[in-house]
């Protein structure tokens, strides 16, 4: 019998319904796998008691022939999502000891549909990072290694724990969030599938805020079908988030069966960066060829403001973050510095001790660009550039249905390899435009690097047209196959 943890959500769902195994057996298999894989540091907190209780309740429902679409499916939850009574700290010291008295809407939707929580997943502090090296709880390790090497690699970030846990089969799938690429870049680094849906598709209520106009929740999963199943449950319109959209959530799984004959796929020339790594260029061309072979039409397009998306992002995101993170002052929750004789000293010491270096850097940048005299030169200009980026896409949608690009400029790198902040930011060069324009984007594994590491392609879609993204991503998956890390842990 194959190991229970090797099953996709779709396969586990069928097995549970057929009573090949119980929900508790499935959860216990994952809990054992997590215990054996602590070296990856993917989980910050394991919740075995809660997981078993939820699995037993699922088992009872399944026995009666009842149960939701995710009944008995064990999931990992990024530490950014508020989970009632359970560690929720955005992997930051500043939220030391914080246990919410409420549940995020996205996780509440998953529990409503029968899913089981295995624990909270590591991440970059406040989702600020591209390598999961900024977590207060230490680096996450990628289950993938270079061929003939034992050296550790980063899983990408900020959803590094989610990506690592999914790739190492430490959960059936995971929740994640994406502000500039934090779902898609780690998915690409670990051979998993990650989708950032349209802004407004998932409620942001109960998700620790980073940059509110860019943040979106989405899943990281083992294949396109599982990502489709997850997003269907996660998405909802929510009275508690006025930016959540009142747009019907279609049956994404049904879209997978549809072929892509006649689908118009745009290839934006501005994504050919200088210098373009040859293996990324080849991967991109191969992806386009696969789609063409399956009946799609390939169209060259131009998105002229692409190169300005990342610098504009590094004004907008830190500006919003400096405002959102003002709430961590040591008064109402989390850490309070001990050496605080008066309030300003209490604020300054708490924030100095509680925030890590990258978070402090971004708060300072954000405070600076919003400060008197600089607001128009930086923030307003960046928001104007954002209008132009969105307009580029709006014009492209007249000619194409989806846009195909690489997901990342490189495969996974080693911890400590990138120390310059701007070099680290360039990891998101292909993903950040999507957040700036509020569009959905999916990263799907498409091949291996020369060193034996997974590489991903990205598909970008029209607003609220995630179904077409799943359809096109499934076509790439059919051609590329799947990629599974060999266990060494």
């Amino acid at each position: 019998m194959t190991s229970l943890t090797s099953l996709t959500i779709a396969a586990a769902r069928d097995g549970l319904r057929r009573k090949d195994f119980s929900a508790l057996e499935l959860t216990d298999a994952y809990l054992a796998a997590i215990e054996k894989a602590r070296v990856l540091n993917a989980y910050i907190v394991e919740t075995p008691d809660q997981a078993r209780a939820m699995a037993k309740a699922s088992g009872a429902r399944l026995a009666k022939g009842e149960g939701g679409p995710l009944e008995g499916i064990p999931l990992g939850i990024k530490d950014l999502f508020a989970t009632k009574g359970v560690h929720t700290q955005a992997a930051s010291h500043v939220l030391d000891g914080f246990k919410p008295t409420y549940e995020s809407t996205v996780t509440a939707n998953l529990w409503r549909d029968g899913a089981v929580m295995l624990g909270k997943l590591n991440m970059d502090e406040f989702a600020m990072g591209s390598s999961n090296e900024t977590s207060y709880y230490g680096n996450v390790i990628n289950p993938w290694r270079r061929r003939n090497s034992n050296a550790a690699l980063v899983p990408g970030g900020s959803s590094g724990g989610s990506a690592s846990a999914v790739a190492a089969h430490l959960c059936a799938a995971a929740t994640a969030t994406d502000t500039g690429g934090s779902i898609r870049q780690p998915a690409a680094f670990t051979g998993t599938v990650g989708i950032k849906p349209t802004y407004g598709r998932c409620s942001r209520w109960g998700i620790v805020a980073f940059a509110s106009s860019l943040d979106q929740a989405g899943p990281i999963a083992r294949d396109v079908r599982d990502a489709a199943i997850m997003l269907k449950s996660m998405a909802s319109v929510d009275p508690k988030d006025t930016t959540s959209a009142d747009v019907a959530v279609p049956d994404y799984e049904a879209a997978l069966g549809r072929g892509i004959k006649g689908l118009r796929v745009g290839i934006p020339r501005e994504y050919r960066v200088d210098p373009m790594p040859p293996e990324i260029d080849a991967l991109w061309a191969r992806g386009a060829a696969w789609l063409k072979e399956q009946g799609a039409e390939i169209v060259d397009i131009s998105l002229p403001h692409t190169k300005y998306a990342l610098p504009a992002y590094y004004i907008v995101a830190p500006a919003e973050a400096s405002s959102n993170l003002a709430r961590y002052d040591g008064v109402r929750y989390g850490l309070r510095a001990r050496d605080a004789s008066e309030t300003v000293a209490m604020y300054e010491n708490t924030r100095s001790q509680g925030f890590g270096r990258e978070v402090q850097r971004r708060i300072l940048i954000g405070t600076y660009v919003l400060s008197a005299g600089y607001y128009d030169a930086y923030y307003v200009r960046a928001q104007k550039v954002r209008t132009l980026i969105k307009r580029d896409f709006d014009e492209a949608w007249g000619r194409v249905d989806v846009v195909l690009t690489p997901a990342t400029p490189t495969p996974a790198f080693a911890p400590g390899e990138i120390t310059d902040p701007v070099q680290m930011y360039l990891n998101d060069i292909f993903t950040v435009t999507v957040n700036m324009a509020g569009l959905p984007g999916i990263a799907v594994p498409a091949g291996m690097s020369e060193e034996g590491l997974p590489l991903g392609l990205q598909l970008i879609g029209k607003p609220f047209d995630e179904a077409t993204l799943f359809q096109a991503a499934a076509a790439i998956e059919r051609a590329a196959g799947s990629f599974t890390a060999k266990p060494w842990w």
């Binding site: 003002a326 109402r332 000293a345 925030f355 104007k384 902040p421």
Partner: protein, 95 residues
């Protein structure tokens, strides 16, 4: 526009983050390299372009102006570092 060491101290004070004096030169260097890279936005012609306010075109939702939640003082206090009788305790602010 470049950031000098006094500006770093001023911005840190505005952000209510205490920074070590020894860290100021390094922070100034890092912030300058990020801001230099951001300067490329000056190449873009933004004349007549409206700043983006919402990525998705939708009407702002309205709801009835009525109380839908509340009476959760005890719940709100559960994570407070210091509290007494549903008040947050902070260092003395008036003499």
């Amino acid at each position: 526009m470049s950031v000098d060491q006094d500006t770093v101290r001023r911005v840190a004070r505005l952000a209510r983050i205490r920074i070590d004096e020894a860290d100021v030169p390094k922070l100034a260097g890092e912030l300058n390299s990020i801001l230099r890279w951001i300067e490329q936005l000056n190449e873009v012609d933004v004349a007549g372009v409206e700043p983006l306010t919402s990525v998705i075109t939708m009407k702002m939702k309205m709801r009835k102006d009525e109380v839908t939640d509340g009476n959760r003082a005890a719940e709100i206090m559960t994570n407070a570092p210091a509290s007494e009788d549903n008040f947050f305790i902070v260092p003395k602010v008036v003499e």
